[in-house]
Amino acid sequence: MNVEQAKQWLRQTSARLSEHKDELSTLDHALGDGDHGVNMHRGFQAVVEGLDEWEDLSLSSLMQKVGSTLVSKVGGAAGPLYGTAFMRMGAAWKGIEQVNGSAWSEGLSKAVEGIAQRGKTSTGDGTLLDVWSPVAEAFTEGEPSWDNIESAAYKGMEATEEMVVKKGRGALLGEQSVGHIDPGAVSSYYLFQELANTMKAGEQ
């Protein structure tokens, strides 16, 4: 992935999230306070607005910028989590203009580490980490299989439905949180699906 592809990815993610804004908020209504769609939409819109201004940035700096924009504009819980993830990827990709093979797996596992630290959470807590973590694992040393990655994201998302939520507002519901898909997991799935879409389009 080069800077242009990264931008493409962010633009597509933004469009996708804006399409699914109400769906994400409705999911959050069941487990949280019903604003996840609004938050993500606001944040990625700000990212897309920024893209034009951030023309000459390196890939690493772009990721950092995206991260801090998400912290600032998403707010809530998702802001610092997504923000940290992007900032950690940016840090991992310092000096790299084209993410390949091990850089992918390095970047993603740093992102997962960041989310786990920031959210004081681990996999199985029924959060977006349950998408990010299997996705990171699906990046092996070689060139990524985008189909594998997409399906890892999908399965991770689905798995949250059966989990007792342990972190975030959903945790207030205890056992009653079972039976609901986590909204942050869904937005993360969209993010990775758009990554796969972008990269697959580039391969053709």
């Binding site: 908020s25 949280g32 306070d33 019903g34 604003d35 609004v38 938050n39 606001r42 801090s68 912290v71 600032s72 504009k73 998403v74 707010g75 809530g76 819980a77 998702a78 802001g79 610092p80 989590l81 923000g83 940290t84 920031r118 959210g119 972190k167 975030g168 507002r169 945790a171 207030l172 205890g174």
Partner: protein, 325 residues
């Protein structure tokens, strides 16, 4: 949904601008942020910052002023402000003595503040965070939310900071206050988010929701509306379980946003009577809208177990827009 507003997305901005416009000598808004600070800081003092999602007015910007907060950070409605905003507030009020952040126990708030603390540290500003979790409706103590009791922590901590106490000392007293503060709420109606336009939950005409938070989330129990006397008893029964016997009390009766003052005082009356029947000494009673949930009708009760130290800071002078004494 009928609200006095313009663009629903701009309601927080309208509030902050209005607050500053009406109180120009006292308050200012940091440029390009939703941070409200005192216009003039008291020199050589630990900075006290609080903040969180909006929709809880007058919290927190209404409590910025001598004897209470130095800055308040406002997020979107019910959404934690980003770490960058907390950082701006920290930078604005730090005078070399460090900054204490008073944070209601919500995941998003805590994470954003922690990020801001890391950034502040990188700039050489020392900070501490104290997490407020007074809501006894939530049985899992780790998940307990910060609700109206927050303002008592802010009042006491602010009064102590005003004396020039160290960051460590201010943190100690803030934590002690948190440990001795318990609250619980009841809603007669849900609230409606400006940008959503739909009530946050449905409640039948004769129902009330017990143990709600301040973000329109459902409570822990739903039952038929009962009298003010019975509501007072219900909430007190839960709260008193965790308040040491014998200690004198401060009571806060807090309206949730659209409960008229006449009703708040009716409930205050029943609450004070019941506490006195139990031989509890209510040394201070506060009644009004301190920590709201948009246009929710309902009430929360907070009890704070007092010792001389806390009682003194609670009585200390304060000059904010919303709390003056």
């Amino acid at each position: 949904m009928k609200k006095l507003m313009n663009d629903p997305e701009q309601i927080v901005t309208g509030f902050l601008e209005g607050l500053v416009a009406a109180n120009r000598e006292q308050l200012q808004r940091l440029e390009d942020t939703d941070v409200i600070t005192r216009r003039v800081l008291k020199p050589q003092k630990v900075g006290i910052v609080s903040g969180g999602g909006s929709g809880h007015e007058p919290a927190h910007a209404g409590y910025v002023g001598a004897g209470m907060l130095d800055a308040a950070v406002a997020g979107e409605v019910f959404t934690s402000p980003g770490a960058d905003q907390f950082l701006s507030a920290i930078q604005a009020v730090d005078q070399g003595e460090g900054v204490l952040l008073l944070v209601k126990n919500y995941n998003g708030d805590v994470m954003n503040v922690e990020m801001a603390q890391e950034m502040a540290e990188a700039e050489g500003i020392s900070t501490e965070m104290v997490i407020i979790n007074d809501d006894v409706a939530v049985s899992d103590v780790k998940q307990r939310r910060g609700i109206a009791g927050t303002v008592l922590v802010q009042k006491i901590t602010g009064a102590l900071a005003e004396t020039g106490a160290s960051l460590k000392e201010v943190k100690r007293v803030a934590e002690k206050t948190v440990n001795q503060t318990r609250s619980m709420s009841v809603a007669l109606t849900p609230c409606t988010l400006p940008a959503v336009g739909q009530p946050s939950f449905d409640l039948a005409d004769e129902e009330m929701e017990v143990g709600i938070g301040i973000h329109g989330e459902r409570g822990v129990d739903r039952r038929e509306v009962v009298t003010s006397e019975e509501i007072a008893k219900l909430l007190l029964d839960h709260i008193l379980e965790e308040i040491p016997e014998q200690m004198p009390l401060a009571l806060l009766v807090n309206g949730m946003g659209s409960t008229p003052l006449i009703e708040q005082y009716v409930l205050a009356n029943d609450t004070i009577k019941q506490l006195e029947k139990k031989d509890r000494d209510v040394q201070h009673a506060f009644v009004g809208e301190y920590m709201t949930s948009l246009d929710m009708a309902g009430i929360s009760l907070t009890l704070l177990a007092l010792d001389e130290e806390l009682s003194g800071y609670l009585q200390a002078p304060v000059q904010t827009v919303q709390w003056k004494q």
